[in-house]
Amino acid sequence: MVTLVHDNLEQTDAKMSARDVSVYYGSKKAIDEVSIDIPTDYVTAFIGPSGCGKSTFLRTMNRMNDTIASARVEGEIELDGQNIYNPKLDVVQLRARVGMVFQKPNPFPKSIYENIAYGPKIHGLADGKTELDEIVERSLTRAGLWNEVKDRLDDSGTALSGGQQQRLCIARAIAVDPEVILMDEPCSALDPIATAKIEELISELHGRYAIVIVTHSMQQAARVSQRTAFFHLGKIVEYGRTSDIFTNPKEQKTQDYITGRYG
């Protein structure tokens, strides 16, 4: 079990905070005036039934919703006090600071090395080959993959197992040194052993990066997170310490969901 670093909800700094965020797909409202503070030092889990908007909300946090033509966002999301929906903001810089790991592992059809080096190269983070090598090694080490792949960095990233691919994707996200890592159901395509490894990794990364994880598994949320937000029908029903949400929820809906009465 993960021990909580701080237990006082009020004292932590918010890395990201959303104010009255609504998201529309065409005329359909997927997120309805959600406000939430994402703390710096914690793992925050978003739970809720399918279609409740938790993934949609996650994607608004690094503006990946921009790639969907019909999506429209209202309200403000701040990263260190700056509104990321400010038209003047460089979305490329934003995504370098707020990384993302997807539901299905999506390594590029390149070598393992090139997969990791991709981000540092496009952002110009490394001066020369040695520095790039260091970044690659450090990222893979942090993602717990270095020992497994150090002898075959030139193999294709797509040749790895599913779990290794997902850790490669996490290493890839780490390589550009982000401040926040968003994970959209990162274990839903993995077997239990690979899932355990990813969860272990999340616990190790926590503290270094603010992590937000969307998950369908309440056990997973309980295992890896310190804060949990329960989404339902595009709204946050309840948000608080994970231990409180799971042992002593304030809302009846939360109680119903975590005890498996629906969803």
């Binding site: 790639t67 033509a69 810089q93 370098a96 990384g99 993302m100 999506n106 991709y118």
Partner: protein, 461 residues
């Protein structure tokens, strides 16, 4: 005439079988306890009908092919035929005339020798059409009876019909393949004849091409059949100049259409681009010969090239490149679109711009498909005939200067086949050897391109 009758007969008998089998199936159904059959009555009906129609049609097809030969044989066996010349044109003419009169296609004979053969022809035709009719009926009844007797309440007619339909579809798909084989065989035959007169080494490696269709065929002048300038012209126009135009433009338009264009614009531009592929190549030929070639000549003259050719390789290549754009762009479009969205999202989420995502992730991932598209486009370009016939010249020059006139394999095939040499002259036969080489090269290109595409599709499944 008799083929039509056989066809109608087959269909009529099929209909009769269909109705009879259906009635029988309904009878089964009424007798059965629960009113159910193994298959619906219509399947019983189709089973019998197909068993009648297919063998009958197959026989009709064979019969129409062999009956004329049989008729002629039997006419030649009559005493009236003994006065015919032993062989040659006249013999054929007389026979043809007699047959034309006998079948009613001609009013009378010019050659009195044919007169006496008309009557034997008439009787032979009549005899054989009766034989054909009887055999058709026999086959129809045999097939029908065989199928009809197998009908039972629990007969799996549905599955049988399924299998027959599958066989029909198989035959349909074999037709195209067998045609290819047939083309190949006929090419080989003439090519072998050509290589009997001109050495393959001279043909494949010689650098001088100027066949003389009027020369004495017994002295084929092997050194005039060096096809290297043609191969070079083909590659230079079709695979180099055309591809310099088509690859960048096709690729860029595919990237724009898949990644940047909004759906409305895409809905307009994509069909417009595909219209290019539907323009008859002869129209491109006009464009190349009447607009582009003079423009290039004038431009070359303005730049100080003395006496530029009005039939430059450049003109043909440029227009051919434009023609090929839709092939490259639609293949590239498909393969870029086939790269999973997750790949694109992954790159964008790293903070890459759309442009970086395209050039570093999407295009490399789609590269095998793009390469395959280019190979198909090349095979299309080097086999292309009309543009080069109209815009390129017939002068076989071995040069790298795009402003010079050049000729291609296809141009020479046309020139040799429509030339003045007799059919068995090596100059004419060289067209078959050229066609054979072209066929092999495009076949190889297509084969490799399709293999690449296949492997690439598997990579994402």
């Amino acid at each position: 005439m008799s083929a039509t009758i056989l066809l109608l007969l087959a269909l009529g008998l099929g209909l009769a079988g269909w109705l009879a089998a259906r009635a029988r199936a309904w009878a089964f159904r009424r007798q059965s306890d629960d009113g159910r059959l193994g298959s619906l009555p219509n399947y019983h009906a189709w089973y019998v009908a197909l068993w009648i129609v297919i063998p009958t049609l197959a026989f009709a097809l064979v019969w129409t092919a062999i009956a004329p030969g049989l008729i002629t044989q039997s006419v030649l066996g009559t005493p009236e035929a003994s006065s015919l010349p032993a062989f040659g044109f006249e013999r054929t003419n007389i026979l043809n005339e007699a047959r034309a009169v006998a079948t009613g296609n001609a009013m009378g004979v010019f050659n009195p020798a044919a007169e006496g053969l008309v009557q034997p022809y008439r009787s032979a035709i009549q005899r054989y059409s009766i034989i054909g009719l009887i055999v058709t009926l026999l086959i129809a009844f045999a097939g029908g009876a065989f199928a009809f007797l197998r009908l039972k309440p629990d007969f799996a007619a549905r599955n049988r019909v399924e299998r027959i339909v599958m066989a029909i579809l198989l035959v349909a798909s074999l037709v195209a393949i067998l045609t290819t084989v047939g083309i190949f065989a006929s090419l080989i035959f003439e090519t072998v004849r050509f290589f009997g007169m001109v050495s393959p080494l001279d043909f494949l490696f010689g650098t001088h091409w100027s066949p003389d269709p009027m020369a004495n065929p017994d002295n084929p002048q092997s050194d005039r059949y060096g096809a290297i300038p043609l191969f070079w012209g083909t590659i230079y126009i079709g695979a180099i100049i055309a591809m310099i135009v088509a690859i960048p433009l096709g690729l860029m338009s595919a990237i724009y259409l898949t990644q940047y264009a909004n759906p409305k614009l895409r809905a307009w531009i994509k069909p417009a681009l595909e219209v290019l592929a539907g323009v008859p190549t002869v129209v491109y030929g006009y464009f190349a010969a009447l607009t582009i070639a003079p423009a290039i000549r004038d431009a070359a003259a303005a730049m100080g090239v003395s006496n530029p050719s009005s039939e430059s390789a450049l003109a043909a290549g440029l227009v051919m490149g434009v023609m090929i754009i839709p092939f490259v762009s639609s293949m590239a479009d498909d393969s870029i679109a086939a790269v999973p969205q997750a790949m694109r999202d992954g790159s964008l989420a790293m903070g890459a711009t759309t442009n970086e995502t395209i050039s570093r992730v999407l295009v490399p991932a789609a590269l095998p498909g793009i390469v395959a598209g280019v190979m198909l486009a090349i095979s299309r370009a080097i086999g292309e005939t009309m543009i080069v016939v109209m815009a390129a010249s017939t002068a076989a020059n071995l040069t790298g200067n795009p402003l010079e006139s050049m000729t291609t394999v296809t141009v020479q095939i046309v020139a040799m086949l429509t030339g003045e040499g007799s059919f068995d002259h090596p100059a004419t036969l060289s067209a078959f050897a050229l066609g054979f080489v072209l066929f092999l090269v495009t076949l190889a290109l297509n084969f490799f391109a399709l293999r690449v595409v296949k492997r690439y599709r598997e990579a994402y499944e």
